[in-house]
Symmetry: C2
Subunit: 275 residues, 2 copies
């Protein structure tokens, strides 16, 4: 079993109630990655809507998740012929962590797009790129923090033209392009796209000092079933104002099909959270 599936396993314990666990393998310092936490909630939604695909899922982040038990309460708001809408609360002992609203349905495999005005991000061949963080000397985690364990979960190849922050430099724009796959061979599917849309560092790191960029809200539109192992991604921030920024993502698969559009609202970088 792949790490993603192990770490998003949920069990129905009562009608509309699922039990799961937040693992320490998706950590960004002290805090489990938001897209990972969403994926645990989406595992419960999948349990409540067997056979359906997420079409559009929105999560609002209420407080940082902690490693440990989680309960997910699912409400089927409307089970329709074509669209089914669901709400979920993921709670831990500290309180409610995320609230989710989503609409599920069926996405045909291999259905041809009617209209496409866009193309996968242009990237250097991935064989020519150094895996991200491969040259990083991971310092031992400071007291009370997890290491950046999330880095072990993915094989990431940034286009160096867009990842100045990785070299400690400033970039020209808040755009980050790269190749992305699970490092353990797990194939991307529609249920993992909530995580994959939040798996890369914030592109605003190219402009502002890196720090903790808490997600306020994340919405993912799932547009196709991914084909293949590698994804081509582009994430960009165009507007930083009022202490907030947006992060828009496109995720394309190996067949050259757009598989997800994402947008999140996040707060400007803040000093890294400590315990």
């Amino acid at each position: 079993m792949h790490v993603f599936d192990e770490d998003t396993r949920v069990e129905q314990v009562a009608p509309g109630l699922f039990a799961g666990r937040i693992s320490d393998r998706w950590g960004i310092g002290l805090v489990p990655n938001g897209g990972y936490v969403l994926s645990v909630a989406m595992a419960a939604l999948r349990g409540a809507l067997p056979g359906l695909d997420p079409l559009t899922v929105t999560a609002h982040f209420l407080r940082p998740a902690k490693v440990g038990e989680a309960r997910i309460a699912v409400e089927v708001v409307k089970a329709g012929r074509r669209f089914s809408t669901v709400a979920a609360r993921l709670e831990q002992d500290s309180g409610e962590v995320i609230r989710v609203l989503g609409t599920y349905g069926r996405i045909a495999h291999g259905s041809a797009p009617v209209y496409v005005a866009g193309s996968p991000p242009l990237l250097p061949p991935r064989e020519s790129l150094v895996p991200a963080w491969s040259g990083t000397k991971e310092s031992p985690p400071e007291a009370g923090t997890m290491a950046m364990t999330i880095r072990e979960r993915f094989d990431v190849r940034f286009d160096p033209a867009t990842s100045a922050f990785q070299r400690g430099e400033r970039g020209e724009s808040a755009e980050l392009r790269g190749w992305l796959r699970f490092s353990d061979g797990r194939l991307p599917d529609v249920h993992a796209l909530g995580l994959l849309a939040d798996a890369l560092p914030p592109p605003v790191f190219n402009l502002l000092s890196p720090g903790w960029v808490p997600t306020v809200e994340l919405t993912v539109h799932v547009r196709a079933h991914p084909v293949g192992e590698w994804l081509r991604c582009v994430f960009r921030t165009r507007f930083v104002q009022n202490g907030l920024l947006e992060e828009d993502g496109e995720i394309w698969d190996e067949s050259g099909t757009l598989v997800a559009l994402s947008r999140q609202m996040a707060a400007m970088p803040q000093p890294q959270r400590r315990a």
Copy 2:
């Protein structure tokens, strides 16, 4: 009192419960506009969170609204120091119409952006543009439909380079740019942006035969308090696949500030709904 404020008036009738009314003045054929219905729900959210501004609001559309009474149940999910998250259900006798999830906070007036990579859409001077629908002979509504009453609510000036569908022609892309203001002098504010993000016809009408394009989900990021009366808008659809499309919007104010980003997921045009 302006029409928008009259038609989004709500009254608290119990803790967390508001009564309102869906008016016939925002109709698109048989169906009240989705952004308008969202605005009635947002009026209840505003009542529950006095003094706060919407930052990010998502609505999932469950069934078409009907003209008549509505009840809005509001749950304050978390009242925080900086961010407050709320959920709402708007119900009518036919059942639940929309489910809403939002995070509210405070947007400083006139705060300067830290970073902007974008600019208002280039538009011909609005004095040079014919108001939209001014040459349209409105045929009397067919049995069981409202007229397009929403058209009376707004003064819209499309850039003709982007509004081929208005002339019964096909366009080159699913992009629609134009000037937009309330026709009765009501100034746009953060509470009206849910409506304004859904006020123009779908840009995909430039490519596919116009029809009923039901919104599945609409998310609006409010980024600034609008200044002035006129808004400059651009809406575009880049991907139509699996029977679904996205519609991305940018709304800019007279001071040249981005005031909202919007994205909706909608279904492909369908024959107009009849009673």
